[in-house]
């Protein structure tokens, strides 16, 4: 498996920044039918996130497109992880967290009152910063999601397929009954990815998935992401700019305002954002003059 760095040639050079106000206020924003980009998986419109009175993210609007890797970069505390966690309603777990604005997933508002957060999370998987396999066998880790969903069928097949897709099968095929905690950090993280894809999600959110790993394990994860985007949409938070530049198709740069709330500075195809940023802040950040 070699790094496929030239794979990104087909990237369209269209800027993804959406105008903050689209002429319609968010209450009467048209819901499904008229989503502009047909390949949009997520449409965030004026999304703000509050934690118990403190505003962490303000008026963020962006589009995440299907079968792309979208990277969120920005200085610490700018709300990258908060944005990521609002895409599968993991913020619901934080007492006092509140999301305003609209988060459309396939044209559907995931914060609408009738939406079941559990259903959202079943379609939008997540990989965390620190590898967090369950203290169970490798097999049981991957089988966890299918079992939750009452999967009846070839569970062994699902486990094998998921481990293969996560490029872990060859490492673990002889020790599926072994405790997952005996694996190395990089293997654990790939196991977490296998666990996430075992439920056939639509999107995989990754919150700094390689920050606890060594450079070699990091490259394997990035390689894996590129393979996975054939079938999945990936959103990754990283504070490693090289990683965003290497691995993603589109990049959103977030910064922190004077009110300490994160906001979107610009979003563009990765190559463009890193070579010809439209905003001075972005340029300062990617050239290392700030952050």
């Amino acid at each position: 498996m070699t790094l496929q760095a030239g794979e990104r040639t087909e990237t369209e050079l269209t800027i993804q920044i959406r105008p903050i106000h689209q002429g319609t206020s968010r209450q009467d924003a048209p819901i499904p039918a008229s989503v502009p980009a047909t390949d949009a998986v997520f449409e965030l419109r004026d999304m703000s996130v509050h934690y118990a009175g403190f505003r962490a993210v303000r008026d963020l609007s962006l589009t995440v497109r299907r079968n792309r890797i979208t990277a969120l970069i920005g200085p610490s505390g700018c709300g990258k992880s908060t944005v990521l966690r609002s895409l599968n309603r993991m913020n619901d777990l934080v007492p006092g967290a509140r999301v305003e604005g609209t988060v459309l997933y396939d044209g559907e508002d995931i914060y609408a009152p009738e939406v079941d957060a559990v259903e959202v999370r079943r379609r939008i998987g997540m990989v965390f910063q620190k590898p967090n396999p369950f203290p169970k066998s490798i097999y049981d880790n991957v089988a966890f999601g299918p079992r939750l969903n009452g999967f009846r069928g070839d569970l062994d097949g699902v486990v094998e397929a998921s481990l293969r897709r996560a490029a872990l099968w060859d490492d673990v095929k002889d020790k599926l009954r072994q405790n997952a905690l005996a694996l190395s950090g990089g293997q654990q993280q790939r196991l977490c990815i296998a666990r996430a894809i075992a439920v056939e999600p639509d999107v995989i959110l990754m919150d700094e998935p390689a920050s606890a790993l060594d450079p070699i394990a990091t490259l394997r994860i990035e390689e894996l992401m590129r393979e996975l985007k054939e079938n999945y949409t990936i959103v990754i938070v990283t504070h490693n700019m090289q990683q965003a530049a290497r691995a993603s198709d589109e990049t959103a740069f977030l910064s922190m305002g004077d009110d300490r709330a994160g906001y979107l500075v610009e979003m563009a195809p990765t190559e463009q954002l890193f070579t010809r940023p439209a905003n001075q802040l972005t340029e300062d950040y990617i050239t290392g003059r700030f952050g």
């Binding site: 559990v118 997540m126 620190k130 967090n132 169970k136 939750l148 969903n149 405790n179 666990r195």
Partner: protein, 292 residues
Amino acid sequence: MTSSSLARRSAHSRRRERFDLAMRGVLLLAVLLAVVPLASILLVVVASGIGAMSWEFLTSTQPLSFREVGGGFLHGLVGTTMMLGIAILIAVPLGIAAAVFLTEYPEHRLTRPVRFFTDVMTGVPSIFVGLFVYAALVREAGLGFGTLPGGVALSILMLPIVVRSAEEILRLVPADLRSASTAMGARRWQTTLFVVIPAAASGLVTGVMLAVARGAGETAPLILTAFGTPYLVTALTGEPQTALPLLIFEGARLPFPAAQARAWAGALELMVLVLVLTLLARWIGGRNRYGR
């Protein structure tokens, strides 16, 4: 230590060494002082109990006359086992459920009252528990003295211990695991049942064992609930029941050497029982924590 520059010690460092030595001495002395009572209890119980301890003691009930030599506390062992069994059946599911409630649903408004009353329960004198069960079950419900009221009294004493220890253990389960499970689309009860409790299982067993060990040694709550009997009883209700601590209490108060000897042997039996339970708890708790 042969290098002259390293071997040369200043007056300051010699003073620190002397201080270190003195402090170590003080700490060692404190440890010894703490161990002396424990070791002497152990020694006295073994030395005094081993004489009357025999296969006969473990397998027969006591003679009808307290003066008579021989016989044993089989009825006490059976009573203790039965009442502990009842207490485990009540206190363990209830206690673990309460602990799960406290740790997994911390935002609920009943969390604080539940924790408060658990703390209060820990401090309730055990004779009060006996009185309560006497009033409620023995008298009001008309059950009379017996195994069931005794077991219920023990369960009330064990409950707060189970809740507290289970709560501590469940708290140790990393939040990461809960997030991972939630992000997989697990509902909260699924996360609790399939991730949190399995991860904490060995610790939960340890906590339960310690509570059982505590219950095994209780005397006061049984006086007014099991009441005591010289016979081997296997009925749940209708007949008074007895237990090892009750028989020890009874035998030790009598002026007859034979009864006192049986009490010592009973004390040894109970001590070994509690020791075995504690070691078992250690063993289960020691292996298999967060994998391995």
